[in-house]
Subunit: 354 residues, 2 copies
């Protein structure tokens, strides 16, 4: 319900500069231990679900594009349902769960260790099963999160991904100056939410929405779509722009809203700018988050993003997207803190079906 | 437009028993060469987009659950846009493209070879760039496909995945008797399309649809969703049921149709049966494809699937889904052969943006 005081979700969004700062301080010093753990192992696989999975997607791209290390995503059902034995002796498996208690992720981590992997647990709860059983726990410092939609725990998971991705890069300190600027960039985006109300309005009018990005910001696009779906109860679809262009772009017509997420630099800005124009030609209302000046001018509504290099842009770009989601939920008369049918610790297989 | 003669798509769906037979005959004898190529390499990564990507998802699960070999999916943008150099010297990279001419997949295969991978190209066109440049080409024998929606080329890609997945299993012949039955099972499903009209009707009424499965049949669910979206121009979302349960199930309400895809055996039938009941409780019309008797009775509309073990069930389960898609496109007044805005050889980055 709309309230006159700030929602929990809004409060937790506002706590992010401090949460990011605390998490950087806690995790960057662990990069030597991450390197030791990964020594002699050739790849990093992530196990996660939901928002944590979207954080892991960023982690995978950061590893592959910045660190030159092969990444990938574990299929949890291979562990939990098929109980396959795979050789993971040359892998680090990074399991990501805000609560550290998501049953399938805890089980997948145990399976990975049995298969020979070194294990890293990324969680916001120090005394959780995931942290306790991992070879190395990266405990994010978001503090307790009460709203069901993950905001500060997601952003601090991205910090953990950045710690991991830089730890395994040839020069672990190459992005340090930019990492240090992230808390201030998050604060700046919170204090001047240009375009957020217009974006909320465009999404409110939409019969159907798509959210798209690619590469390092694909996770941001998918997380934005997930939050719109779960918190605003809107049918929405997140895509890599390559998947969207490959076919589903054919369903984009008048009455739809397309949200495009871009960094200010890197190889994706130009194709996303071209996509913005193409989607507008199809009659969609195009909302752009981030990008450069050319991207901004190709969008109907533009929400400025962070002044961060593409490798770290997800740590800022999610912030205006969170503001849009929180505002839209209220505008639609939903309670952002307690979306219908969602629990804070999620279960993918209810007990009776296991 | 509805026509009195069969659409190309319907004709090509009907050609599948012969296409599958010819592809089995062509590819199963290549299993020794697949084993030789993979000798000493520890993982298999797939590069694909669209329907081919959905075939690859099956390939990955088959490798991990049947062969005990770690699989994964390449992120093409890491090759084509970020131009990262990764160490793939212990990997086989399997690139899948019906035409063998999809630019980003051809480029990704070349990149994989430069990174040290052994390369397998899966394509329906023998003299294609993809086949020509691969260490080993698995050429599917679907014959020319004229309708834009992939049907027989998709099903024969699944045969290629089965050849690959069985080639690398401890006993490459363990599934041979079932593989030999696939053409007849496909023919049987075509000749008695029980429930297809009812399923088409349920989807026609839907304001929004979701399609879900998991594990070995996740690719079937995603391919069904993609076909509904591209061919019927319906907003639809494909999910792993674990992802659906994790959160987005909250958007499922009255007026929606949920399509569930299950094998007749294996660990996913029971949780999908429970999901069918839960979705019905939320007011969705539940269409089930495949599964067992319990699953069938939990669905509002049931379309029987193949009599094949879960490891091979995708080779049959897609057939009734194709019939539903083709029928729905006609019922909605669309031309199934030429969906709006789609081309047969797809481009994810239009030339001007490269």
């Amino acid at each position: 319900m709309p309230t006159t005081t700030a929602t929990r979700m809004a409060q937790e969004i506002a706590e992010q500069p401090a949460a990011v700062r605390a998490t950087l301080d806690a995790l960057l010093p662990l990069r030597d231990r991450i390197r030791e753990l990964a020594a002699g192992r050739r790849r990093v696989l992530f196990a996660a679900r939901g928002s944590s999975d979207n954080a892991a997607i960023y982690g995978r791209y950061l590893l592959e594009t910045h660190a030159g290390v092969l990444g990938g995503l574990v299929a949890p059902s291979v562990a939990t349902h098929y109980r396959s034995r795979l050789d993971l002796s040359d892998a680090v498996v990074v399991s990501v769960s805000q609560s550290g208690a998501t049953e399938e992720i805890v089980a997948t981590q145990a399976w990975a260790r049995d298969c020979g992997a070194a294990t890293v647990g990324v969680t916001n709860v120090e005394c959780s099963p995931l942290a306790g059983a991992a070879d190395l726990a990266l405990v994010t410092q978001a503090g307790p999160e009460h709203a069901v939609p993950a905001t500060k725990t997601y952003l601090t998971q991205l910090v953990a991904m950045a710690a991991l991705g830089t730890a395994l890069a040839p020069d672990p300190h190459a992005l340090d100056a930019d990492l240090e600027r992230v808390p201030d960039e998050v604060a700046r985006l919170l204090s001047s939410p240009t375009g957020v109300d217009a974006a909320t309005g465009a999404l409110r009018e939409a019969s159907y929405s798509v959210v798209t990005g690619r590469g390092l910001l694909l996770g941001t696009a998918l997380e934005t779509a997930l939050k719109l779906e779960e918190t605003c109860l809107r049918p929405v679809r997140g895509y890599s722009y390559a998947d969207l262009r490959h076919g589903p772009i054919s369903v984009v017509t008048e009455g739809m809203t397309a949200v495009l997420v871009a960094a200010a630099d890197g190889p994706m800005v130009e194709p996303l700018t071209a996509l913005a124009s193409d989607l507008a030609d199809r009659g969609a209302a195009v909302v752009g988050i981030g990008g450069d000046a050319g991207f901004a001018s190709a969008c109907d509504v533009h929400v400025p993003g962070p002044d961060l290099p593409e490798a770290l842009a997800p740590l800022g770009a999610m912030v205006p997207a969170q503001l849009v989601v929180e505002g839209l939920a209220r505008a639609l008369g939903h309670d952002p803190d307690n979306p219908r049918g969602l629990a804070k610790v999620t279960t993918t297989d209810p007990r009776s079906t296991r």
